[in-house]
Point group: C2
DNA sequence: ATGGAACTGGGACAAATGTCCTTTTTTCAA
DNA sequence: TTGAAAAAAGGACATTTGTCCCAGTTCCAT
């Protein structure tokens, strides 16, 4: 549920130790909007610590959460490749520490550093790989099944992530989430 | 709705002209299963002509269509990066012409050819970029709105793609699709 | 500590969608 | 060309989920 990328986190740490200068450290309090949908930015973030949500919101203000991002996850990188505006907003859930690198340095690194290049491709590939079955499952199974599944992969999700965000992640309303949770509590010792 | 990648198609054509030997041409009739979910393959396909569907099926046999693939789209490439089994099945809808390259030659090309590397990264990035708003929209809006949207981006979709596949693409049942189409026909001159 | 804002929980009803089934139409191979 | 199989259309009903509320609770900034 909260995606991480340890390999990339480790490698970037190595890079920073070797050549600190092109990376900057940033800190955000909880609930801060870091990237706003349909805007332009000139840097890529990598999460060192904390949890963020990446979401699309529509004209009616509905949010649909794409991913919860944890340690080692990048965001703002897609715009390096196509130079378009962002498709998602990113907002910290907990306090968040990131390191950032400019688009141009990121591109240089991609060209010059084969290991980095491979890790970035792998990270993109994982984003595709994880999203596919998730949406498929969410559509094809009732809400309760989805909650049980989340509970299995991340037992503390209910206390860590606000209810509204959980609902927006599954793609349902808060009301439906509550109904399902109530029934699960009645049925199962898990909840 | 049917994704294409002209730039990649063109570039691969150039590569084939320059060094034919590492690419093979393949042809499949309509409705052929080319890649089966949870299996291993050792080559990457790129579509030269025709339409295919990429889908996940669950234990109950429900299919959820991830993408319709047209000219210039790759499939089977994710498995080069992580060496895992496939997450999707790919099946031709029309007769399909592809060119294929072995995993090892694909990897060599990624390392040696910066242009190819960039185009592949861009292709991955696009897969992410297109998938996000689509799922968001599908979840957040009624079926009719989704159909109108498809009609706008690809007016002939109803005659080209089987109803069952359209339903599986939107993530609804055939029954619901028919209901919605009937109402749209009554309401709008478009359908 | 306290008052307002935001989160949480749930009742009552409406609407959308799914399930199950039957009928009609189209497709395609013998 | 024709008969079996697949695809499409739709009736009747059940179920799920959403919408619109309101009430209780928690969380902060003053």
């Amino acid at each position: 549920m909260i995606r991480v990328n340890e390999e990339l986190a480790d490698y970037v740490s190595t890079l920073i130790n070797a050549r600190n200068s092109i990376w900057s450290k940033e800190t955000y309090p909880a609930k801060t909007l870091i990237i706003k949908q349909d805007s332009r930015y000139s840097k890529v973030h990598l999460i060192r610590d904390g949890i963020a949500k990446c979401y699309i919101s529509d004209e009616n203000g509905k949010e649909f959460i794409q991913e919860f991002l944890g340690q080692g996850m990048e965001f703002g990188e897609l715009e390096v490749f196509d130079r378009l505006t962002t498709i998602c907003s990113v907002e910290s859930i907990t306090a968040l520490h990131t390191v950032t690198i400019s688009h141009s340095n990121y591109q240089k690194l991609l060209d010059a550093d084969k290991t980095f290049n491979k890790l970035v491709i792998k990270a993109l590939s994982d984003k595709i790989r994880f999203k596919a079955p998730r949406h498929s499952y969410q559509h094809g199974y009732p809400i309760e099944a989805n909650l049980i599944r989340l509970k299995e992969t991340f037992p503390e999700f209910i206390s860590v992530i606000p209810k509204k965000d959980i609902a927006n992640y599954i793609g349902i309303t808060g009301r439906s989430l509550n109904r399902a949770l109530k029934e699960l509590k009645a049925k199962s010792a898990l909840f």
